[in-house]
């Protein structure tokens, strides 16, 4: 149908069996966490904290802010975990939604007080001598363009191209059908194109 895809999906039987086993293990961990088992929640934290941090970092571009928001994401998840409902997406999808909403609220309130953070290029990245200025500028302009998208479009773009989820996973995260996600992605890419041409 379309060739706009982050990377091909591995679909060997072995891989599928492994995914199924991992999902079952995760389901049991989540059940224990819902029952207020701290060690189970800590295991979920261990499994997903880096991914959550990286998602937030993409949006805020600052390591300290990303760490604060990551901690808030897990505190909020612990408070809300008894309301968690499995909807065909992995548990991390639920965490990503919390992280995304928290971060977008944070950026909105920050924007009310000042212009967008100029320091997107974090010290970890700026310190890399192989990264050209042009590439850094390009990354920054893309990130700024992504931030200017409407909420739903931004979320689809982040999940598809930054998180590298497939359409089915994104559909489960945002509660829409796969065709609807394709349309949102199409419109989002079109809008990004326009924004980047401005």
């Amino acid at each position: 149908m379309t060739t706009v895809s982050p990377r091909p999906n591995p679909d060997t039987n072995g891989h599928l069996r492994e995914v199924k086993r991992d999902r079952e293990e995760e389901r049991l961990l989540v059940e224990r966490a819902i029952g207020r088992d701290q060690s189970a929640f800590a295991e979920l934290y261990d499994q997903h904290v880096v991914r959550i941090y990286r998602h937030i970092f993409y949006l805020v571009g600052d390591s300290r802010e990303a760490e604060d928001l990551t901690a808030q994401t897990f505190l909020k998840a612990w408070e809300a975990i008894d309301r968690y409902k499995e909807r065909g997406a992995p548990f991390v999808a639920w965490l990503l939604r919390i992280a995304h909403n928290l971060t977008v609220s944070y950026l909105r309130s920050k924007r009310e007080h000042s212009a967008l953070d100029e320091g997107f290029v974090d010290s970890k990245r700026a310190g890399n001598p192989e990264e050209s200025l042009e590439q850094a500028n390009d990354e920054r302009s893309v990130r700024d363009a992504v931030l200017r998208l409407r909420d739903e479009q931004r979320q689809v773009i982040m999940l598809r191209f930054v998180e590298e989820m497939d359409y089915r996973e994104v559909a489960a995260v945002i509660g829409k059908s796969v065709p609807a996600v394709r349309v949102i992605q199409h419109r989002a890419l079109g809008n990004l194109r326009k924004i980047m041409q401005e």
């Binding site: 149908m1 379309t2 390591s63 760490e67 974090d122 890399n128 390009d138 349309v183």
Partner: protein, 59 residues
């Protein structure tokens, strides 16, 4: 919206959109939180959990 319409929408501007999609890259692998943060936050979660449970029970 039917699937044919979706296919049409996506096919219509796919080459231009592919160029845009290619610019959205995942972060470099070295963008990770500090060990100190990871340990501190894990400890914080483990310490907050019993209090949170107690406060829920009290409520």
């Amino acid at each position: 919206m039917n699937s044919e319409h979706v296919k049409h929408l996506i096919a219509e501007a796919a080459p231009e959109l592919e160029v845009v999609a290619a610019k959205i890259r995942p972060l470099p692998e070295n963008v990770i939180p500090s060990d100190e943060f990871l340990k501190r936050t894990r400890l914080r979660l483990l310490q907050l959990a019993p209090k949170d449970t107690e406060s829920r029970q009290a409520a």
